[in-house]
């Protein structure tokens, strides 16, 4: 866990990552709040907050008396959300750092192309 941000956000992100990677498949059950709390060694109330975020976002849903499940279509919608964040979190700092080092956008594009063909 990284200390700088609220842990419930990090838990939510961790679950999102597992949904995006397919490790948590749609319509399968996710671990319980207490299992999350024990695994990450965090307060169950914190784990609940993280899971609640995903329920509110529609990525998880509750089956009464059974537990939490990954919603149908969650993977695609989370990928879409992450794509929107991608530019701000990765591309912008990449371009800024490249600028500092005197790398032009064309050179940068060339570097990305090379990396992709490796």
């Amino acid at each position: 866990m990284d200390e700088s941000r609220p842990i419930f956000l990090q838990i939510a992100e961790q679950i999102e990552n597992d949904i995006i990677s397919g490790q948590l498949a749609e319509e399968t059950q996710v671990p319980s709040i207490n299992e999350f709390a024990a695994f990450y060694r965090i307060n169950p109330a914190t784990a609940l907050k993280g899971v609640t975020l995903l329920v509110e976002a529609g990525a998880l849903y509750k089956k009464r008396g059974i537990g939490m499940f990954v919603a149908d279509g969650a993977q695609a919608s989370l990928k879409g959300k992450r794509r929107d964040q991608f530019s701000a979190e990765f591309v912008r700092p990449l371009v800024a750092e490249a600028g500092k080092l005197g790398i032009t956008p064309t050179q940068l594009a060339e570097m990305i192309r090379k990396e992709d063909t490796k």
Partner: protein, 296 residues
């Protein structure tokens, strides 16, 4: 939310020393609280007042809606594990575990037995012959297995090694999840327990200086690092919690930043680094010390 403890205007003086100074706060049911602060800040005195082991100089305390002083109805629902716990001469751990069920209605012997095995505690050895860590383990086991609706742990793990402390944290979380109750954990090892806490109360020189949800607190400060000029320009009139500098470089801890402010800082070539709960509390307690000096 139901309040388990309600304290208003509480003060305790010992001669000319004010150990607890006009303190007011509420403890809600079934949360894990961290009661943090430096040595001599007033943590133990406060817990002694809350458990009716000492009398307040002024102010009011309600535990489960009543005064805890000589009140069996309240005290039988409270477990107070303290670092300085003394046992009768010639007592062995087996005597402790035999008498504990007389005091705690929710005592779970099976859970106690599991913990005794986890901590590898010898039952038939005289307590005064045991190591500091083993004596601490007795307290931790009593505190957990008593399952009291309100449990205080005052520096419960003096002498416990890292493995034993981890066992304590894991068992506490596990058992708390299955049997929710109010836990107040007082410790110096802030980083170790930070993630277990739902709410943090920090006491310094008898006063409460932080009373905050742990998640809110965690996001409430950031260190901004860069050249002094850039840092100063960014910090402007913001409240500075701490400042470090070397040569032309500065590192300044400021109160929480919004996403936009973070982006602005990065655009200005500044680096943002996290501040742990422990660092934050160190910074805050230093700050209040300075303020104290100025006002004195």
């Amino acid at each position: 939310m139901t309040a388990v403890i309600e304290v208003a205007g509480l003060t305790k003086t010992f001669g000319s020393v004010t150990a607890v100074n006009d303190v007011s706060f509420t403890v809600e049911e079934n949360k894990i609280y961290g009661l943090l602060g430096r040595n001599g800040a007033g943590k133990t005195t406060l817990m002694q007042l809350l458990t009716g082991q000492d009398f307040a100089t002024s102010g009011s305390i309600e535990v489960f809606g009543q005064s805890p002083v000589e009140n069996a109805k309240v005290l039988q629902r409270v477990s107070f594990i303290k670092e300085s716990q003394r046992y009768p001469e010639d007592f062995k751990p087996k005597h402790v575990f035999k008498s504990a069920p007389w005091f705690f209605a929710n005592w779970d012997q099976e859970f106690a037995n599991r913990l005794i095995a986890d901590f590898r505690l010898p039952l038939d050895r005289r307590i005064k012959k045991m190591s500091r860590g083993q004596v601490s383990a007795i307290g931790v086991i009593v505190g957990l297995a008593s399952r009291a609706p309100l449990t205080f742990f005052d520096e419960p793990y003096l002498g416990l090694d890292a493995v034993a402390r981890q066992i304590f944290y894991d068992r506490l979380l596990e058992d708390y999840a299955n049997h929710p109750r109010t836990v107040i954990l007082s410790t110096h090892l802030i980083d170790e327990v930070a993630n277990l806490l739902e709410h943090v109360i920090v006491i310094d020189e008898g006063r409460i200086i932080i009373d905050e949800d742990a998640d809110t607190l965690r996001g409430s400060a950031t260190a901004v690092v860069g050249t002094s000029t850039a840092v100063d320009a960014f910090v402007g009139t913001r409240e500075v919690l701490h400042r470090d500098g070397i040569g032309g470089l500065a590192s300044v801890t400021v109160a929480g930043l919004s996403e936009k402010e973070r982006a602005d800082a990065r655009a200005a070539g500044l680096e943002l680094s996290p501040v742990s709960l422990q660092q934050l509390i160190i910074r805050k307690t230093n700050l209040s010390e300075k303020e104290f000096e100025v006002s004195a």
